[in-house]
């Protein structure tokens, strides 16, 4: 009996052990660098900080401050609003353009391979380079953009210095930087569509717009899901570009402030403006995590439901 049990269970337990062994490194890394910091942030968010160390346990006081008490409340909703604006702007500009470019590349027009490389090229640049490059191009006095406008007698604005244009300018730089990525993802989705389906539509007299909206769009739903979710997460983690093209304060006048900047400024302070408050900062981080997590789950459910097996 014992020998029989050993014969039956041994391969299974060996397999389980082997799986556990393979998963262990990833699990340890996840626990150390993701789960543990998250739990720490959650714990710290319930404390009032005395300088740089946790003081009294204050339950939800930090959450109450950042969500309901002036002037923190205004800063939180202002930053959240900018994240939402960035998400929709990127969905329309970055992903909308990516869809059109991907469709054009799908048609394999002459030179499409070169174009594919050119579109993807900025993606390999670091955010620091992109920010520096666009700061130079948009410089209010010596920038190429304003010099070009000057040729037509137009005095370009201080793109990054005035509230109406600052956020849009950074979004534009982001579109330039990242457009290649959704283009490739959407193109890969389009290339999975059977050529026969597209040719049949064309024989039936469908034009490009009809094919794109009625056939391609529904059939690339899995790719759209990936692109949408990644854009959402990216928009709510937006940090490097606004930090380097504007600054930690979300200048000018908080017009480029986003949640990640606000969180960082609150938690870690800044030599030139503020002191550190890990309690409030952690509360912001927890709220960001919950918001992004919840919306991502709901969005994934919805987007998956409209996916069609090709």
């Amino acid at each position: 009996m014992t020998a029989e049990r050993r014969r039956n269970s041994s391969p299974l337990s060996r397999r389980s052990l082997w799986i556990a062994f393979l998963l262990a490194p990833a699990a340890v890394i996840m626990m150390t660098f993701v789960v543990w910091p998250l739990m720490s942030a959650l714990q710290l968010s319930f404390f009032r900080f005395e300088g740089l160390t946790p003081g009294d346990f204050v339950w939800f006081e930090n959450f109450n401050k950042v969500l309901f008490q002036s002037p923190f409340r205004e800063a939180t909703y202002n930053a959240l609003w900018h994240n939402i604006v960035v998400f929709f702007a990127l969905m329309v500009l970055e992903n909308g353009l990516a869809l059109l470019i991907a469709y054009a590349l799908l048609k394999e027009l002459p030179g499409h391979r070169v174009h594919q490389v050119i579109v993807f090229l900025p993606v390999v640049l670091s955010a620091v380079i992109v920010a520096f490059l666009w700061k130079l191009l948009l410089h209010p006095l010596f920038g190429v953009v304003n010099a070009a406008l000057g040729l037509f007698g137009i005095m370009g604005p201080a793109w990054l210095g005035s509230e109406p244009t600052a956020l849009g300018s950074i979004v534009f730089a982001n579109v330039w930087h990242w457009m290649g990525f959704p283009t490739l993802v959407l193109l890969a989705g389009m290339q999975r569509i059977s050529r026969e389906v597209l040719e049949a539509a064309r024989l039936d007299g469908a034009g490009d717009w009809t094919i794109l909206t009625k056939i391609v769009w529904p059939l690339i739903a899995p790719s759209v899901t990936i692109v949408t979710v990644l854009t959402f997460i990216g928009s709510f983690n937006w940090f490097e570009l606004p930090l380097m093209m504007a600054d930690m304060e979300g200048s000018p006048g908080r017009s480029t402030d986003v949640l990640a900047l606000y969180f960082y400024r609150t938690a870690f302070g800044s030599v030139t403006s503020g002191i550190q408050d890990f309690g409030q900062g952690s509360a912001l981080a927890v709220l960001m995590f919950l918001f992004v997590g919840a919306v991502t789950v709901v969005a994934l459910k919805y987007l998956r439901s409209r996916e069609i097996e090709i």
Partner: protein
């Protein structure tokens, strides 16, 4: 054992014990700073210190400027920080003291504390009990840089009053020269710009009144002083809203702009960037003829001892030495900054002038008084001043925002 063997053993033992004792006496201590660019100078200072204190070696380690607070607090929390920490003053110091990370200093252990004025000591003290925690290292003065060559070529003299400033600026503009290089593209620099031009209008008592709550930023004097800034828009570069700190410096150094409201911390930097520059650093324009003109001033920071340092005695000897006139002279004349140590002789003519301005300078308000809680006065001013300059807020509204924001943690402003 023969007698010769015995003698050899005793001698060897003696030498070994001597070496061990010397090694135990010698201390290697570490110094942390955000001033990577001053590495050579500090290594020179520390070599001079070690020459006088052969049992102490000091290792210089610079951390990145923008993440310095985070790295220092993390290092201190983990017990891995340096023995001597270069700290900023006021609220920045306050949060480290509150956490128990820094060693309180007194004149018994650090006699050179007697070499400082009371306001220098107060800047590096814990606000609640006035206990000093660091040896002050530099004053920063905010005033007006003047490109003397540009003024000479234009046949003008630097302004001393507000009206003169406007007249001179009109004359400079007529000659195609940008009168004032400042823009509004860098938040922290904007706050200094505000301090430079409002200081003379607010006068010497306003800061003290604010600090006790005798008045607030809703005071009409503050709104009146802020409204003066609106007049400067005509004299700033085109698209000034986007002109940042670096660009302003370039405009000034290249001679495209005649004046720049800035800090004495840039004197050495500007000389390095343009060794041929013929410049001066003067007080900002007085409100009117006959009025006193006040530059603004703050203490940049100090040298503190890590409370958990295993080499506390050696660290205290170092910070004590960093409070002596010997160090102050080296510091000022090598790094081009003003040491606040009594008895320091400043030979450089511009720095000498800055030291004179310090005698009547008013406090850089938010840095000195309102960086002890969140939101800091600096955060609120920096967020709102660009709106005011763009015409989206009035000076009165800026004063209200500042008062209400600071009132969330500063009791004397509450209910006002």
């Amino acid at each position: 054992m023969t007698i010769a063997k015995l003698v050899r053993t005793v001698l060897l033992g003696g030498i070994t014990a001597g070496l061990v004792t010397n090694a135990a006496l010698a201390a290697d201590i570490t110094f942390w700073t955000w001033r990577q660019e001053d590495k050579a100078a500090y290594e020179q200072f520390f070599a001079a210190f070690t020459a006088e204190n052969p049992d102490i070696n000091v290792k210089f380690e610079a951390l990145p400027d923008d993440t310095y607070p985070t790295m220092v607090s993390t290092g201190l929390a983990a017990g891995k920080a340096a023995d001597v920490i270069h700290t900023h003053a006021y609220g920045w110091l306050d949060q480290f003291v509150r956490s128990g990370y820094l060693e309180p200093l007194d004149q018994a252990a650090v006699p050179s504390l007697a070499n400082f004025t009371p306001d220098a000591i107060e800047a590096l003290s814990f606000r609640e009990n006035h206990q000093v925690y660091a040896v002050p290292f530099a004053t920063m003065t905010l005033g007006l840089f003047i490109n003397k060559d540009v003024f000479e070529k234009a046949g003008l003299t630097p302004p001393t009053t507000w009206e003169e400033f406007k007249t001179v600026s009109e004359a400079l503009k007529a000659q195609g020269i940008i009168p004032l290089a400042n823009g509004l593209g860098t938040s922290w620099f904007n706050e200094m710009f505000v301090s430079v031009f409002t200081g003379p209008f607010l006068g010497s008592d306003f800061g003290a009144e604010l600090s006790t709550g005798a008045t607030t930023y809703k005071d009409p004097r503050y709104a009146a002083a802020l409204s003066k800034l609106l007049e400067l828009r005509d004299y700033m570069p085109p698209n000034y809203a986007g002109v940042d700190y670096d660009t302003a410096g370039q405009l000034f150094l290249s001679g495209r702009a005649a004046m720049l409201a800035g800090g004495s911390f840039d004197i050495a930097n500007y000389r390095k960037l343009n060794p041929a520059i013929n410049m001066d650093f003067i007080a900002p324009p007085a409100a009117s003829a006959g009025d006193a003109s006040h530059a603004s001033k703050f203490y940049d920071g100090g040298y503190a001892v890590n409370a958990a340092s295993p080499n506390k005695e050696a660290a205290e000897r170092l910070v004590n030495w960093m409070g002596t006139a010997e160090f102050g002279n080296m510091f000022s004349n090598t790094l081009g900054n003003i040491s606040p140590i009594n008895g320091v002789e400043i030979t450089d003519p511009i720095l000498h002038h800055v030291a004179e301005l310090n005698q009547t300078a008013v406090p850089h308000l938010n840095v000195v008084y309102f960086r002890f809680g969140k939101p800091t006065g600096s955060e609120i001013l920096q967020a709102n001043i660009t709106k005011m300059m763009a015409g989206d807020m009035t000076p009165e509204q800026v004063g209200v925002e500042m008062t209400n924001g600071i009132a969330t943690w500063f009791a004397p402003f509450q209910g006002k």
